[in-house]
Structures are given as C-alpha cells and as structure tokens.
C-alpha cells in the first residue's frame, strides 16, 4: 500500500522539521513494515518535459529510434529504445548531467554525451522507473517510456483503459502543450510529496490501517500530536426514488448501506483529487469512480457506484450466487460462480461480486445521470475464499478480507455524498439512506491490571503512561486503583483486539521495544533430557565424514513416479501430496535411496568414486506414527529416521565391501551390536546374491547390498553401486550392548597363520561358528585375505586366517599350540573340505 505524506498531513499536524523518513522509521519500529520511501522530484535536476519533433528508425539498429526533441531553448538528438515513443509526444527528457537509474535498477548514473551504434545521443528519454516515478506511473511493459502527453489534457493518462478522462488540469500552467516544453519535470508534475511504501503483509491483522486516516492515527500517537477528527455531515434524505435493499444472508453481509444521487455528470475529477490519486499510483478515471477510490484510500472502506438506471425497481438484493452461474466483471472477463459466493444484484440479474468487483453492465458510463452509492460490510472469510476461488484479488477484497469495522460504512457514505456535491454542484440525494445492519462488535470492556503489564513485559511502566498510550489509540479507560476496564474502539474490535495480552502489545509497541532492557531468565539447574536419536545421528555423521570420507547431502522429501519405476517399485505403496508443486514429484519418499541415486547420476561425470549419505525421515503409510491429536485415536504415518549411504565405484567389481566396511566401522564405534544377519530379508532393487540384512540382536534394522544391475542401468549409473541402510529410530531404542574391558594378560601370545583352499560356496561365517568353541587357548581368529583365480582351482577360493593362542594363566608351550592348531586343521578339513595350502 502506498501512503502519501501530504495526505497524512491533512490529519496530523506534523511540523516541517519532521521528515517522511522519520515517520517511516517510527512506523517501522511500532506499527508496520515500511519498505521504502519515494521522495517525489528527488534527483530530477536536468530532467525536463521534452516534445518529440521527429522519430525515425535508427539506421544501424532495428529496435532503436532516432529522435529529435524540443526542450524549449534547443533541440536535442536522442537515441531511444522505448516501445511507445512517437512524434508529438511529451516525454521526460534527461539532459546531459541528469541522474538516472538504468532500467530502474542499481545506482544513479550521471548522463554524459554518448554515441549509440555510431550516432550521437545528447540525453535520454526516460521510463518512469528510471527517474524514481515507478510508484506514480507503474510500468506496463519494460520498454515503455513515460508518456507525459496527459498533462495538457488532450490525451489519456498513462494506461487509461478507454477511460473517460477528459483532462488533467495542470497546476499553475496554461493548458497548452508548448508551454510545458522545457519545464523542469518536478515543476510540471507538481511533485512535492513523499510516498511511503508499506508492506501489505504487515497489515494483515490491522483492518484499521488500510487507509490514510488509520495510518495518520498511528502517526499522531507516535509523534504525540493531535489527530484531526474525521467529520462528515449527515445526509439529507429525500423520497424521489424508493431505494430498497434486501440482504438474504446477514452473516456474510452484516451491513449494507446505499443512497441514490441524481444530477451527476460524469467528468474528469478536480485537480486535487487527480493529484491525490496519482501520488499513490492510482489512475484517475472519472469523478464518480475517483470518489469511491479516494474514500477507500482515505478511510479504508471500499465503495461501489452503480448506474441507478440499470437497477430494476431500485431494489438491490444481496444474495448467494447459483452454482454454475456466469458473470462478466468490469474487466470484461467471464467468471464462473458457485453457491458460496455472495453477489450484489437486483431481482433480475447480478450487478457485482460482493466486495470484490463490479459487473461490466452496471458500471458508470459517460451518460450516467443518477447513481447509487454502495457502502457495505462483508464477512472477511467469505470474501477471501471467493477471491481465491476466482483468482481475483482487488484493492476492495484485500480490505474486506481483513474484517473491516462496519461503522466505517456510514462515515464513508456521508463522505461520498459530500464529495459528489463538491464535484457536481447539481448533484442531490434522491432517496433515503438505506441501512440494513445486523452486527455486534465485541468492544469489551477488557479487565486488566497494572501488574499484568509488568508481569508480561518485565518492566514497570507508569500507570499514567499506559493510560495515555491506550487513550491516544482510541481506547476508553475506566480505572479503579490499579485495575483498568478498557473499552475497545470499533475499528480495533473486529478481530485485532480481544484479550488483555493484546493491550500489552499496544502499550509496549508504542512505549518502544528499544526501551525494554534485555535480561536473561533465571532457572534452576536442571539438565535437559538428552535427545538420543539426534546424538546418534551426529555420531554417525562424524564417522561417515571424518573416518570414511562420505559426503553428506540434504535431499527433498519428494520423489517422482519415474524414480519409483526405475527402482522397480510400486507407486501405490507411496504417500502422495494432494497439491505437489511440480506434477513430476508428487510422492513422499519411503526410502532415502531414490534421491541419492539421482545425486550419483548428477555427479558421476569425471569421478571414479562417489561416497554419499543422507540422514532423514521417510514416510510409510503402513507404519503407525504419532497421534494426530492427544485425545484422538487416529495416527499419523510412521516417520522413522534412516541413514542411507551409497558408494559408486567405477573401477570396482565388488563395492559391496566398501559398504560392508561402513557397517563394520559403525558397529565398532557408534552402533555396538550392529551385525550382518545370517539371512537376507530381501528387498526391492537389490543384487540377489550380494545383499544381507543388518540386525541388532533379533531385530532387523537395515541392510547392506549392491544395487541390482537392472536398477543401475535404469538410473544411468556408470558403475556398480553399494548401499547401506540403517533405521536409526529403531537402533536408538534397542538396549546398548554392555561393553566391558577385559584384563590385560602378561603371558606371551603365540600367533599362527593358515591358508586353506575351499569351495567357493563355503562361508566365512560358518567357519567362524565352527571354530568358536574349539579350545579356550584360541583367543582370536581373523580372516586377513581371500583370493580367487590363478593357482586356486576353478570353483575354489583361498582363505587366509590369523590365529592367536594364549593361556591366560601361564606361558604356553609349543606342543600345546600344535595340538589345538592341528585340531583346527582337522575341523576345517572334515567340515569344510579344506586343503591347507
């Protein structure tokens, strides 16, 4: 929303010593976000009104024009790229020495004489944004230069859409085009205002701030000035037209006021009105439309004017649309209605979408003689829903959806009648003032104590100060000792203020957040409960990154149907978004692998090896999660945290072992008790003979495997891929294996190495199991080499083991060791058909 500083000053007497920038700063600190200030006419030195005399194509460039322009005392040759430049046009001409922003961006740059494509150019014909007037004259197309022809009243204002604008009565200048030529631009446009740009989002809870008067009320409080009372005169009713209003749904329309005025002539607005609208970027259309717009920008109350001759029987009906009904709005677009939408109509037809936009057929035309002003209040939620459904947001809907004060409607109607009489002296009210009202504002009073403020803020404010702030904001206060009864003003009572805490905010924001000294809270020493899962995540990350050289990625939680298909999985198993951002990735991940494989694909060029991992939540509809509400039985889907690591090795035929190494290291460090299971629980996309489940005790908690060659091909990967998956949520809940120290033994150990050759189908795990209880002297067995190929028969492999013998009570003698070692060899021969190599 744009706020004119001059307009504000109509309501608050601010001395010249207070600048718009200071006002903006205070508003920012206490009320709303001010995104910027545009000081009109700033940096407009050496920019004048120029008149295009000739305009031809640039001989060396298709998109440029070679113009001659009159700037009063001389003619300049200028190259211009504007899409709309033409002969006779009045333009904003920046002479050499002027400062402009190229294409409205970056720093101001001082113009110098230059040559463009070989032809000299002595200045620049400017777009509005290049000279800081973008707020006043919004750009419609990026190459559009500012057409000033409207200032002499013979052309339409910029962007006028077939409007009935008959002219802008320029201030203090005769309306002859040539008298403007050469004038400084700031003077020609009467620029003496500053425009505050306010972020609409920061106003979402403040229906009272959607007009200049509301902002002025805040400014008056912030600068401790008096706010001028908003005075309007009562409307004198008459009976020439029997205006009637029937409101069918008083919930959606708590108040509807209307009055008919005849004797109007649709004309250009007076200069002050045009200038006021122009300052805040509103194009002037005609006096009637301008009055309704002006009142909206002034007070925040949207209004509408109907041509009375188009309303059957002078009876307005406020009702819901029928499903499937169509309606053509003022902009010429056909809108599809449904029965949730509130309409303004008469007995026969629709006239407007309530609170959002008028219809094409009932609008004001040049020939309109009698009008009906609408000043109404509509329910916020309904306006917002309708506006969202229709994709139609207007200045009017933006205000109604904030919950406007119904009392504003009466003031606005009175003001509208005053203004129409000012613009058209023949105009007169020809009906009674219809007021269909059924609303009830919760104005309190709220009970609050002085102590409550202290308790919430942490600073003791003087009672006097609190009362002063609240009263200045319009609250009415009755005190009894340190207890207050606070009546909420109507403009704050629709939703913004309803509990004592709201009053605390009012006081503290005006008092000044900067005056509250920060202090740290005091607590009893109470060690926080540990988040074991988060600690485990961090430990795993440390090992993976620092010990195993894996790189951590963060991926989206969404996957595509194509990814699921590549994985040879079934999309029906996946939870799905109702409204995905891209149709491409509507599914919620069940597993971190799909996106990790995409990471591998995207990074594999030029790398022989890629080690990636992610820790994150997955979504599985079949698993039970937390309750949706504490007292409801239905559950969210399970969302366990998984660790998934992938390893792509282009020059390795069995990266399974790299993945297995990850498991072994994690098991040795942060996941004691994690081991490969004897069986493979199986799974989608796995290499059938290089896959195994991971377990802690009896519980399967993950898997380690190579990806199925078909899946590798589907994902377009250049090498074998191994995968480790561990469900950390599950692991963290399992009892930790008791790790104990064993006493050091000082008697010497005896070491023996043994290489055997066995058939390939013999498992290391079975060998270990067979040797585990052979003899207590055997302290450890470790596999240190496995070899297949030359020197070992086909179908055979060589396995080399390292044996450590020790007696924990005395020194061993060789014979004892030989005896056990031979026993081992015997077991290996008999059970596994091993041959000692």
């Amino acid at each position: 929303m744009l706020i004119s500083y001059n307009w504000l000053k109509k309501y608050v007497n601010l001395p010249d010593s207070i600048s718009a920038a200071e006002v903006a700063e205070k508003l920012k600190a206490s009320t709303v976000e001010v995104e910027g200030i545009e000081v009109q006419g700033k940096n407009l030195e050496n920019i004048v009104v120029g008149k295009i005399i000739t305009c031809e194509k640039h001989p060396n460039a298709d998109k440029l024009k070679l113009c001659k322009a009159d700037v009063g005392n001389e003619q300049l040759q200028i190259i211009c790229g504007g899409s709309n430049v033409k002969d006779g046009m009045l333009v904003a001409l920046a002479k050499v020495g002027a400062k402009v922003k190229w294409h409205g961006e970056g720093e101001l740059i001082e113009l110098k004489p230059t040559a463009i494509r070989g032809i000299e150019s002595a200045g620049m014909i400017c777009a509005s944004t290049e000279i800081g007037l973008g707020g006043m004259f919004p750009l419609r197309d990026e190459k559009e230069i500012l057409d000033l022809s409207f200032i002499v009243g013979k052309a339409k204002q910029p962007h006028g859409l077939g409007s009935t604008n008959k002219g802008f009565v320029a201030p203090h200048l005769a309306s002859h085009k040539d008298k403007f030529v050469g004038r400084p631009l700031a003077e020609a446009l009467g620029l003496d205002d500053s425009i505050l740009e306010i972020d609409n989002k920061s106003l979402s809870n403040r229906p009272d701030l959607w007009g200049h008067y509301g902002i002025a009320r805040e400014v008056a409080v912030l600068f401790n000035k008096k706010l001028k009372e908003f005075k309007t005169g009562k409307i004198k009713p008459s009976k020439e037209i029997n205006l009637k209003v029937e409101v069918e749904d008083t919930k959606l329309c708590p108040r509807y006021m209307a009055v008919a005025v005849s004797g109007v002539s649709v004309e250009p607005s007076p200069q002050w009105l045009q200038k006021a609208l122009l300052a805040v970027g509103q194009r002037s259309i005609n006096n009637i439309v301008d009055i309704t717009n002006y009142i909206m920008l002034d007070m925040g109350q949207p209004m509408h004017a109907f041509d009375a001759s188009k309303i059957t029987n002078s009876t307005i009906v406020v009702r819901k649309a029928k499903d499937g009904e169509e309606f053509v709005t003022l902009d010429g677009l056909k809108r599809n209605l449904d029965s949730s939408m509130l309409m303004i109509g008469d007995k026969d037809k629709n006239l407007a979408i309530a609170g959002i936009k008028g219809g094409l057929d009932s609008g004001i035309t040049d020939g309109t003689k009698t009008i009906i002003f609408e000043s109404a209040n509509f329910e916020a939620a309904s306006i917002r829903k309708t506006s969202a459904k229709l994709g139609l947001r207007t200045d009017s809907s933006a205000r109604f959806e904030k919950s406007l004060d119904p009392n504003l409607a009466a003031l606005a109607l009175e003001r509208a009648v005053e203004l129409i009489v000012e613009c058209c002296p023949q105009a007169k009210v020809v009906s009674k003032v219809v007021d269909e009202a059924k609303f009830n504002l919760q104005q309190g009073p709220l009970a609050i104590s002085l102590d409550f403020f202290h308790k919430k803020i942490g600073v003791k404010l003087a009672k006097k100060e609190i009362i002063k702030i609240l009263e200045h904001l319009g609250f009415e206060i009755k005190t009894s000792g340190d207890e207050f009864k606070v009546k909420i003003p109507t403009w704050r009572a629709t939703k913004d203020i309803s509990i004592p805490e709201d009053l605390v905010e009012e006081v503290v924001r005006i008092y000044g957040y900067e005056k509250i000294a920060p202090q740290l809270p005091e607590f009893f020493i109470d060690p926080p409960e540990e988040n074991k899962l988060r600690q485990l995540e961090r430990q795993c990350k440390n090992i993976l990154v620092n010990s195993l050289a894996y790189t951590e990625v963060y991926n989206y939680s969404f996957v595509s149907g194509a990814q699921i298909a590549k994985m040879t999985d079934n999309p029906d198993r996946y939870l799905q978004l109702d409204n995905p951002l891209s149709k491409e990735k509507p599914y919620l991940r069940r597993c971190l692998l799909l996106n990790l494989l995409e990471n591998l694909e995207n990074n594999q060029a030029g790398r022989d090896r890629l080690n990636l991992f992610e820790i994150g939540k997955v979504f599985r509809g079949e698993n039970p999660g937390l309750r949706v509400e504490s007292n409801k039985d239905s559950l969210l889907p399970g969302q366990d945290t998984w660790l998934t690591a992938v390893c792509l090795e282009k020059k390795n035929n069995a990266p399974f072992w790299q993945a297995r190494e990850v498991v072994d290291i994690l098991a040795k460090t942060v996941l004691p008790g994690l081991e490969v299971s004897k069986s493979d629980a199986g799974g989608i996309g796995r290499h059938p003979t290089r896959s195994v489940s991971l377990a802690v005790g009896e519980k399967i908690v993950g898997s380690v495997y190579e990806l199925h060659p078909q899946v590798i091909e589907n994902f377009g990967l250049d090498g074998r891929v191994a995968v480790v998956k561990i469900n950390l949520s599950m692991v963290v809940d399992l009892p930790a294996a008791g790790e104990k120290y064993s006493a050091l033994v000082e008697f010497p150990i005896v070491e023996r190495d043994l290489a055997i050759s066995v058939k390939k189908n013999i498992n290391h795990g079975d060998i270990m199991a067979a040797l585990s209880a052979v003899n207590p002297l055997l302290q450890s067995v470790e596999l240190f080499d496995v070899y297949e190929g030359k020197g070992v028969g086909d179908n055979y492999k060589s396995m080399a083991y390292h044996f450590v013998y020790q007696n924990r009570e005395r020194t061993l003698v060789t014979e004892e060791v030989d005896k056990v070692h031979n026993e081992i060899i015997k077991i290996l021969r008999e059970k596994f058909g091993a041959e000692v190599r």
């Binding site: 206490s30 050289a549 991926n555």
Partner: protein, 343 residues
C-alpha cells in the same frame, strides 16, 4: 726408545690433521694401532726388551702417547661423523611446499549440519532440550493448536502441502508444530528448541525454496516475560554474529504469539554501515518471536494464568546462506558435489 714414542706422537698428530674422511682415518688408525704391524703396537712390543726401570719409565710415557693418539683419533672420528651426518641430512631435504601424496579422500558435512549442530550445542549449554517431531503433521498441531483459525491464509492450498486422501494431514510449514506436542509431553516449566525440516508450497527460485530448515524455540515458566525474550535474542545474536551485534525488535503479527515481534540484527558483514547483503539498511532480519498466546498454552494443557513464556524461531537455511554468502538457496538441496565439497 722414549724419543721414538715422542716422535711417533708428533708424526701421528700431524698426520691426523690432514685426514679428510673416515676411510683415511681408518687407514691411519690401522697404521698406528693395528694389531700386527701398527707402528705404536710395534713400539709397545719393544717395551718388553727393556730393563725393569727403563720399562717402567718408558711404559708410562708410552701409555700417555697411546692415550693421546687414541683421544685424537676419537675426536677426529667424532668431527668427521658430525660433518657426514649434516651432509646426509642436507641430501634428505624435502619440498615442503608440496602437499602430502597420494591425496586422501575426505568427506564433507552439509553446511546446514554445521550451523545446526553449533546452535544445538549453544542452546543445550543453556539448558534447552533438543526436540523434533513429525514432518508430516496433523492439521491440528500445525495450525489449530497454534491459534491459526480455519480461515487463515496460511492454510491455503497455495501455501501448504496437503496429503492426498487425508485432508487433515499436512507437511509441516514450521517447526512450531512441535510446540504443543512438547507442552503436552513435558508440561511447564519448559525450555526446548526444535530444529528441523519444513515445507511450503512455494515455487523455487534463488531466494525461495519449498523445503527449508528452521529452528524454533520455547521457554515457559511462571515469570518468563518479554525482556527475557529480548535477552535470549541478544544471546543468540552474540553467539551467531559476534559480541558487538545489536538487535532491534519490531511488531509483527503471528497468531500463536501476543505480542509478536520480528527481530533484526546489525548486519555482520558491514557492521551496520549498509551493504548489498542488508540492502543498505545496516540490519538483517533474523528472528521472529513473541509471548506465547494463551490459547496455545491452553492447547498444550498449560494454565496461562499460572505460566507464561515466549517462543521464537529462525530460518536455519537463512543463517547458512548468510554465514557462507550463498546466493542461491537451491544449492542446499541440489546434492551438487562441487558445492558440498566446499564445506
């Protein structure tokens, strides 16, 4: 005989002076002291032919000469070996500018992890629990319990991801969704932070992401007030941006707090002077927060007449971008190794 010893000593010491390396030294040693044919050895052998008296006197001299020669040889040996070691060490000189080879692969943490871990540790040191909750959350915990009414724009389809077939399941739009769960589980007093992944239905561009990370915090006790919130904001700002960081609070509306504020910190890049990052304002938007709305406390089963508190939240993703000067937010979830390898 005595003169022969004296002469040998003179000759030997002279010869020793011209010795240049260990080989010559060894030769000289053999020439003088060799068991068979060593000049001194031969002289010593001659001692036995002398008379008792002469042998006694000459013997003493002979021992002196022998010791002197041996000492001189030993000294020379030491001198030569020191010189040799230095020469050898010089030959072993390495190119200290060269990196260790072969290069060892190292892994990388995601930058968000680095910032998040740091903040988790910081808040833990102040006695906060670190919590998380479901990312696919019920409409109740994400909205209703937080005093966000049915008609609030945040619930629009264009702002929130909904789940097909379950109208009241959403992808959480903030980690504030854990607030009421935490109140219900732990009651008051409560100190907790909730870092985590959030989702908004928003088209992506260099400054917008549909997936981002947030850190939410909550402090509830009997006497927790607005000035405490400001104190914690200041502590966080000091920790993140340095001790001289200033903060300022401005009003901002969130349905789940009252009063609600947005906190800004002086730009750590230009120290408040104004630069491109802070758009010349000298300030960076950092932390929204506010005093917890009584309706939210009630939803969490906490009596707002007995307890009060504040909540705050800030974008971890935004902190990561600010800290490392990342200009395109989409890089964070790109899985691009060229990006990740920098951390």
């Amino acid at each position: 005989m005595q003169s022969k010893f004296a002469q040998l000593k003179t000759e030997a010491l002279l010869a020793l002076q011209s010795i240049k390396d260990k080989m010559q030294l060894e030769e000289l040693e053999i020439k003088l002291l060799g068991r068979s044919g060593g000049e001194l050895t031969n002289l010593l052998k001659g001692l036995k032919d002398l008379s008792d008296d002469a042998r006694k006197e000459t013997g003493r001299l002979a021992n002196e000469v022998k010791k002197e020669i041996e000492d001189a040889l030993a000294a020379k040996k030491k001198e030569l070996s020191a010189a040799g070691l230095n020469e050898m060490l010089e030959k072993e000189r390495v190119d200290i500018t060269q990196p260790a080879l072969p290069k060892k692969a190292i892994g990388h943490f995601h930058p968000n992890t680095l910032i998040q871990d740091d903040l988790e540790d910081f808040f833990t040191s102040m006695g906060f629990m670190v919590l998380d909750g479901p990312e696919l959350e019920s409409d109740f915990y994400n909205f209703t319990a937080l005093n966000i009414p049915e008609t609030h724009p945040a619930r629009d389809m264009q702002d929130t991801f909904y789940i097909k077939g379950n109208a009241d399941w959403v992808m959480r739009t903030h980690t504030t969704s854990v607030q009421v769960r935490a109140m219900q589980k732990y009651g008051a007093p409560l100190r907790a932070i909730v870092p985590g992944k959030c989702y908004r239905n928003e088209s992506t561009d260099p400054r917008h992401e549909h997936t981002f990370y947030q850190l939410d915090g909550v402090v509830i006790d009997k006497k927790i007030n607005f000035s405490h919130m400001k104190g914690v904001f200041q502590a966080v700002a000091d920790h993140l941006f340095g001790k001289d960081t200033k903060i300022r609070l401005m009003p901002k509306y969130y349905p789940f707090v009252e009063p609600g504020v947005r906190g800004e910190v002086t730009c750590f890049i230009c120290a408040g002077k104004g630069c491109r990052v802070c758009k010349n304002s000298g300030w960076l938007e950092a932390m929204p927060g506010g005093m917890i709305h009584p309706n939210v406390l009630r939803a969490g089963g906490i009596d707002p007449n007995e307890y009060q508190g504040f909540a705050f939240g800030f974008g971890l993703t935004r902190m990561v971008m600010l800290k490392y000067g990342i200009e395109d937010v989409r890089l964070l979830e790109s899985g691009n190794m060229k990006f990740l390898e920098q951390f």
